[in-house]
């Protein structure tokens, strides 16, 4: 009855606004918090990983290098846990009203993307400061951003549906995100990974995407096609799994949530 595309979009938008408003209402600084967190992380990571541990950054200025990682990581780490719990947190809605439930985890992903975009505004400042070359390769950001968003969305949808039935998922995600932080080139360059682990390391589709974005933003070059083919294929497969799983489990959310 309310499954037409415009009404789903409107619903997603309302849920997204609800997520943002609820988070920033009754805070003095409001959306400024969206900047405070990445800045703090920038400072800590630069000191700890850049200066103390001397993490490799492929010769890029470490603050610029790590901040591109932080912007993307803000999205990944913001979306996954929040989306996982989203259906359970909206139990009142899920159990009492008929509507396409997929909009709920996707609205959480949207809110995390919003945070990440706020953080990205400072990235422009950093790029100007470090005189990063801006070339026509910048258009590659669009497909990379789409793949990253789709990858995180598909994973979020799968996790949120599973969490309705198995609440253990929430704990696993919490733990998984922490582990993933170290298995993704956020604070170090992936070139530092020993060759014999590389195949395993690259199973994480985030690796290729992070590398690609850095190539575009820091070197102003076109990303290596080889490194983004696998993340794209993985995203497509995960999206298929996500939609199949969600369609099959959605009818049982109301009684299990």
């Amino acid at each position: 009855m309310n499954n037409t595309l415009p009404s789903i979009r409107n619903l997603w938008w309302q849920l997204f606004l609800r997520d943002l408003k609820a988070r920033y209402k009754q805070t003095l600084l409001g959306a400024v918090w969206g900047l405070g967190r990445p800045l703090l992380e920038l400072a800590v990571f630069t000191v700890v990983f850049g200066t103390i541990l001397n993490a490799p950054s492929d010769n890029a200025p470490y603050p610029l290098f790590v901040y591109t990682g932080i912007v993307m990581w803000t999205f990944v780490a913001g979306a996954l846990p929040r989306a996982t719990e989203s259906l359970v947190n909206h139990a009142g809605l899920v159990a009492n009203l008929p509507f396409p439930k997929g909009t709920i985890p996707l609205a959480s992903v949207g809110a995390a993307l919003f945070d990440s975009l706020i953080a990205a505004s400072l990235l422009i400042v950093a790029m100007v400061y470090y005189a990063a070359p801006v070339t026509s390769a910048i258009v590659w950001l669009v497909p990379l951003a789409i793949v990253l968003t789709a990858l995180v969305s598909a994973t979020s949808v799968i996790l949120s549906a599973l969490n309705v039935f198995y609440r253990d998922v929430r704990h696993l995600v919490e733990l998984g995100v922490r582990v993933l932080f170290f298995l993704t080139p956020v604070v170090y360059a992936s070139s530092a990974v020993p060759a014999r682990y590389e195949t395993w390391y690259r199973l994480n589709p985030l690796v290729g995407i992070f590398e690609g974005v850095r190539t575009v933003l820091i070197e102003g070059a076109v990303p290596q096609l080889g490194s983004i083919v696998y993340p794209t294929v993985a995203t497509v497969l995960l999206s298929i799994v996500a939609s199949m799983l969600f369609v099959r489990t959605e009818p049982y959310f109301a009684e299990s949530v």
Partner: protein, 402 residues
């Protein structure tokens, strides 16, 4: 005439346990059968229910708590899906149940209207045109921009009801929604529901209130433990329902099957409406007299015991009287039989079905009865429409004075 709701052989099963990774492990490798079965414990909330509702009809669902009424509504609203069977519901559905459950407490009233509207699939433009009507129906003009967490529970209810009924539902499902709020709000809601009724909206009403079901619903069904046991006119279905309740109360010992109790000095052997065979509902006209004969046996010696009789309609006691108030008390020795009679000279009640409860009190000053024989007899009053409607019959004459 179209049939917006068609329910065919509907079954619904619920799992009774929350699942965890452990269950998943058992799902995949069922090592221990007993434990696996325990995890799969389930319960059928609906068993093979079929009915259909015509367009514009108001349909009642009656049944005890846990009989599956709310489950049916949730299935119709598309919130849950049937385990087996078919269910077809055409048109925009609004479910009035758990009003306000979807509100976000940090958001203002207006923001919540837009959120709920989006959930019902109304676009923003449409909603903007209805916003004022919703806010004014909910009587929260002053608080429209205040977060809902500062609303009183009544305001929340009003707002939720206003939203659900302003989306122009084609099928309205009402789940005890009127059992909440103050009387003014109830009246307002009832008015609005009656206006849907008149406008020909298809409605399904779940309620324990006989008045509501009989007033609103053309047809009803009775659910007992998930099975449909009766379908027909609302009045008939309600009679069956009340009968089922009485049977259960009797089985649970809440109603004395016989008029005896260990504490009571007197046993009630029979309560009879004079002129009617025992166990049959007596039928009298309003303003007729009514004579009730109560046969008692003394279990032990007793002095100045008191008999009381109450006339009731459903749960309401309409009239009660004790024999001692007119100087009648019972003195008896064990095994004596005593027959007491009470005569109502004129029963000025309006049409309907009434119950008689008989009470025994140890003594004129006793506060509590030692024996309550509930629903000892029943009678039905018939009256012509010229006598008016309501609970009691007040004799009256109409005339034009000028």
């Amino acid at each position: 005439m179209s049939t917006p709701i068609v329910v065919t052989n509907l079954w619904k099963r619920f799992r009774l346990r929350h699942r965890s990774i452990r269950d998943l492990a058992y799902d995949l490798w069922p090592r221990n059968r007993a434990e696996s079965r325990e995890l799969r414990r389930s319960f059928w909330a609906l068993r093979d229910v079929s009915f259909d509702v015509q367009s514009g009809e108001t349909f009642g669902i009656v049944g005890a708590n846990g009989s599956g009424k709310s489950t049916i509504l949730k299935l119709m609203a598309g919130i849950m899906h049937p385990t087996r069977g078919q269910m077809q519901v055409t048109g925009r559905v609004a479910l009035l149940s758990h009003l306000g459950a979807g509100f976000h407490s940090e958001l203002s009233g207006v923001e919540n209207v837009f959120l709920q509207g989006a959930i019902y699939g109304i676009d923003k433009h449409d909603l903007t045109t209805r916003l004022e009507a919703i806010i004014s129906f909910a009587e929260c003009e002053q608080f429209r921009d205040v977060p809902v967490k500062f609303y009183s529970s009544g305001m929340r209810l009003r707002l939720a009801f206003a939203i659900a009924t302003h989306i122009e539902p084609e099928v309205l499902l009402i789940d005890e929604a009127l059992a909440v709020g103050d009387t003014a709000f109830r009246d307002k809601c009832l008015d609005r529901i009656l206006s849907f009724h008149r406008a020909g909206t298809t409605m399904i009403v779940v309620s324990h209130e006989r008045y509501l079901i009989e007033q609103l619903c053309d047809r009803s069904i009775l659910l007992e433990s998930g099975s449909l046991t009766r379908e027909g006119s609302s009045a008939d279905v309600f009679v069956t329902y009340e009968h089922a309740i009485q049977t259960r109360q009797r089985e649970q010992g809440m109603i004395a099957e016989v008029g005896a109790s260990p504490n009571s000095p007197l046993r009630i052997d029979g309560v009879e409406i004079v002129g009617t065979a025992p166990g049959v509902e007596a039928v009298i006209h309003t303003d007729d007299s009514l004579r009730i004969r109560i046969q008692l046996t003394a279990i032990r010696d007793v002095q100045s015991a008191v008999v009381g009789v109450q006339v009731a309609k459903e749960w309401h006691i309409l009239h009660g009287t004790r024999s001692n108030r007119q100087g009648v008390t019972i003195d008896a020795v064990a095994n004596d039989s005593v027959t007491v009679e009470i005569e109502y000279e004129r029963v000025s009640l309006s049409g309907g079905s009434y119950l008689l409860h008989v009470l025994i009190l140890e003594h004129p000053l006793a506060r509590e009865a030692v024996l309550r024989f509930k629903q000892a007899a029943r009678f039905r009053i018939i009256q012509s429409e010229r006598e008016g409607v309501g609970l009691v019959r007040i004799p009256h004459r109409w005339r034009i004075v000028r």
